[in-house]
Amino acid sequence: MNTLIAIIGLGVFCLLFEILNLRKAIIPVTIIGLLGVLAINYSEFGLTESYYNNMIAVSKYSTAFSSLFIVLTIFLVALSYNFYEDHQTKISDYIAIKIFLLAGAVAMVSFGNLAMFFLGIEVLSIALYVLAASDRTKIKSNEAGMKYFLMGSFASGIILFGICLIYGAMGSFDVIEISDLSQSAELPIWFPIGIVLLTVGMLFKVAAVPFHFWAPDVYEGSPALTTALMSTLAKVVAIATLYKLLTILNAELSESYVIVIVIVSMLSMTVGNIMALRQVNVKRMLAYSGISHAGFMLMTLLTLATSAGTLLYYTTAYALAGIAAFSVILYVCKNQDNEDITNFHGLGKTNPLLAAILTASLLSMAGIPIFAGFFAKLFLFNQAIQAGYIALVIVAVVNSIISVGYYFKLILAMYTKEPNEARTGRPFLIYAVAVVSILLNIIIGLFPSLILDLLN
């Protein structure tokens, strides 16, 4: 609870910076503030309490995921410094929006009431719509914002409809009451329909097939930093929320629901990967790769009782690799008008460190050992095989092989092509974020228990 209040306070504080004309200090102060928030959040870890008539329920799950969100936001704020160099006058707005987005994210994993959940998702989504369209002068960014807004509000509508049906069935928004009532033998038909609508809405936010059509266009059109945010933070928030929703609303998933999840998971992996093979724009490629990763993350929904730790581990590994990859992309594509693979030609020669970091993060996403991505997949497969989903695991393995194809396309471009231009400048913050996030990735790869045992 204190975490949420502190984050909102920090967001308001960021807005004040603009009035006080302290723009130069905003990034360091925000990072320090976020570190403070992280400390507050850490102190709440292990507590299980609810506030304001169970509007907010703090649990191990919510604090662990909140910490991940805060860490990701710190990285994203640090990357803002170089990214908004040319937009100094608006920097406090952008930073403040990111902080508010974080508030929405934290609310989404610590809700105790469906109304609070909806508030959280709206705060997060509206912040994302603004950020997607934030490059006002570019037509693509406008298009991305518009598309995302139309599709996103449609999904929000579906979620709202689902909440209404659940209320109609159960007579309450409170998740504890709902889950108590859902144990009874006679369930009104509206309840499962409501759950399905909620799931559909959240699958849209996660960008799982067949609700993925917005993702590639929006990822490509949005400013690169917003894409980084969407593909790491927003995706992680959405899947964590979906997991929490399903866990606390109905512990027993019906058989047909499980089949749907299995099919959506298989489709997401396969469609995402196959489409990614054909992309030349790196942001678009990572959008499709994100879709396939969403398919992997959905596998955790099949073993709700035991896989919270696995989900946390997978999302952490994925998001850290994503942050590292995007910081390199931000550096390489700084003054380019697109993010095509040609921009990465010869990076291995002109900038070996960043090329190595991008290689490492792609290897992590592909699931090559010693990087956290490998262990994430291992734990996931372990859970799924224990629950008896061998066919799903085989599909996942085949997809891991396919994914190597496009991750390596980028690696090959960096190491075998001749550089087409000299790159100058060594922006400290981009380097720092890239190095720290990939190191964190390797550390949790070497010591998976650090993350995995938090929720077991």
């Binding site: 050992p369 490998f374 497969f381 061998i390 092989i401 194809g405 390596f408």
Partner: protein, 479 residues
Amino acid sequence: MNVSLILIILLIGAFVTYFVGDKLASKVALFFSLAALGCSIVLLNHYNLGESISYISQWIIQPKISFVLNADGLGIAMLLLTTALTPIIIFSSFGNSYPNAKGFYALILFMAFAMVGTFLAADGLLYYIFWELSLIPIYFIALIWGNGDTEERRKAVVKFFIYTLAGSLFMLVAFVYLYTKAGSFLLTDLYELNLSATEQLWIFLAFFLAYAIKIPLIPFHTWQASVYQKAPTVGTMLLSGIMLKMGLYSIIRWQLPIAPLPAQEYMNVFIGLGIAGVIYGSIVALRQKDLKKLLAYSSLAHVGLIAAGTYTLTADGLSGSVLQMIAHGFVVVGLFLAAEIIFRRYETRAIAELGGIRYQSPKFTSMFLILVLASVALPSTFNFVGEFTVLYSLSQINIWFAVIGGTTIILGAYYMLKMFQHVMLGETNTKPFADVSISEGISLVAIIAVLFFFGLYPKPITDLISPSLDVILKVIHRN
């Protein structure tokens, strides 16, 4: 003192090599690889004195993954093969200069690190991690420092990577399945599992895919020749000398003891696949015009025979295979080195453009001839011991296997001697051929010395490996 020391030396060596800069990199790498060799010989002594040199520690508690390096005779033999070949390979590369040498030599040491880990790991997941890790350095070595057209090389190397990764991911699934059964990845726990025949068959096939691609066995060999040709010679040596032995070794260590039933039931199929590789490799080698490709296909024939030997499930078959693995490792490195020596002087590997080197460099000619004869298993060379034992074990299963497998020697003698004739003999070449340099000479002599020494006196190695092979055989025949 235990075997983790070697891993530490090689890993630190890789980092130090990277940071000393391009000029010193090759020498520092040689130093560290020699240190690893020295250390493994010291450890061999400790082992012979009956001390335990294994290393065990807990790594991840849930799921249970341990850091276990088990050094039994078989593991030590493979360890010595790796640590002995690495300095030879590094030393033989002194005649070339590579751009960005620090990265190159660091990757070689890193690869040696991963391969040593693969040979020693006794925890399924640890083993898998090392197995996969060894793939990354060879990928970059072949990609960045390889020769030939960039586009073709890219295709070959990516194909290789995806192929091997595909195989090993199925092995990972098998391991995860075994984990759900046994509750641990430990080799000893996996040995004690009682799996049904169907389970064993699937696990056997998953392992088989990984190993058949790595070795490579027919019909999974299509990546091999082009990668051998496109990779820099050092990469080819690492691949053919050590890395493909990982697959053969893993058959003995992991596949057969964990899933012996399918191996017994379908023995003829798997031996047949190995033998088919012998015939196919030999016939294709006959038609090759490129020296490196010819050696690649001859290697395919030899490893086919080794794989057939492992699938006989007899004591002779296993020990013959291990002996032949080591012998083949040395001889193939020597042959690729000879090809590289010619390439350094003539800038070509096309057999048709060579000839008459004998008159210019008798020293090199005689060394090359010894290697060629060793490769065709002339008595008194190490390869004879290995190949003969394998053929003997095959004849115990079915005499026809031995007869057909034996053609590897006849056909091998034919294409190798024909190649030798075209490359070394004939009319004097107009282009000058400088005599072998000191580094080239030392590498070749070291290899030849090993081949002759163990050819005449293989007892130290058989004594080293047979106790651990007996243990494995007992597990294989437990039902």
